[in-house]
Symmetry: C2
Subunit: 149 residues, 2 copies
DNA sequence: TTATGTTAGTTGTTTGAACAATGATTCTTA
DNA sequence: TAAGAATCATTGTTCAAACAACTAACATAA
């Protein structure tokens, strides 16, 4: 549905304003769809992202700093997110011997298995992205990249 | 920056997966930029959205249900968001005489004035959307509309 | 080596979000 | 019109996010 109908506003000041509001709106829309997909697996989006980063590092461990750096939510709830993941036995945390200030966070077999299950989700199925053609998906990526420049 | 570099993942299973992850990522990115812009005005994104809806209705009042319906966060924090707005004197709330179950929520002069100030923000300035050409912005809107179909 | 500063991570605290349950009013229909 | 169902809004409660303060460990330099 066109954004105009969606939010019952027929005119915008510019294409920029329209795209901007559309992005905010769709962003919320997708995040909700995402959350619904995630719920059965018992992890939130930030937790999932941390798991993904850890898999990227595997079998090397990651420090909390590295997680924060990659997480985009630069505000450091990283410690607490790792708390949650640790409680679910999806990661382990142990002090690094070389630098005792830092912590080695490592994804467990259980964590890897969960991610493997969840890989199916990443296809975009269920979040509307597959309403696009492959070429359009590519176009979208390019536009988004440009926004974050 | 390309999403591959942004999240340090060089390959994706498909253009869909790539666009999907890119959308989630960019969505968070934009929301953060947005929150930063909003902070000086003392309202959060959901509060702002409610104010926008109320302005759309003005001078008619809106019920809480109508707010929920338009808000996309269908989970009803609407009451509490209105609480916050009322505390800041940006809206008024009074029981509707015709149906005493419902509440008439109305934006105040102060609320309208605040929105007027904030209209500047909606141009997209400061959230990266203006990195696009006008035509690209239009293209983006179309793609997003298609996703939510 | 010891004082100073820096970095890493954790822990409070306040604030808002998510979800469910409740209470009040209206609608429906027998 | 009286009883049960449905609707509207509010209120608990739990959970996560934002921001700042704090502790421990390392680095630097006098």
């Amino acid at each position: 549905m066109k954004i105009e109908e969606e939010i019952k506003q027929s005119t915008f000041k510019s294409e920029y304003q329209k795209a901007h509001i559309n992005l905010i709106y769709t962003s919320g829309w997708v995040q909700q769809a995402q959350a619904a997909l995630f719920k059965p697996f018992g992890v939130t989006l930030p937790q999932y992202n941390v798991l993904r980063i850890l898999r990227g590092q595997y079998p090397k461990p990651a420090t909390i700093s590295l997680l924060i750096e990659r997480m985009l939510d630069k505000t450091s709830n990283a410690s607490r997110i790792v708390d949650k993941l640790e409680a679910k036995e999806l990661v382990t945390r142990k002090q690094c011997p070389a630098d005792r200030r830092t912590v080695d966070v490592l994804i467990t077999e259980k964590g890897l298995a969960l991610l493997k299950e969840m890989d199916e989700l990443e296809s975009g199925e269920g979040t509307g992205i597959t309403n696009l053609t492959e070429q359009e998906a590519e176009q979208l990526s390019d536009l988004l990249d440009k926004i974050r420049k």
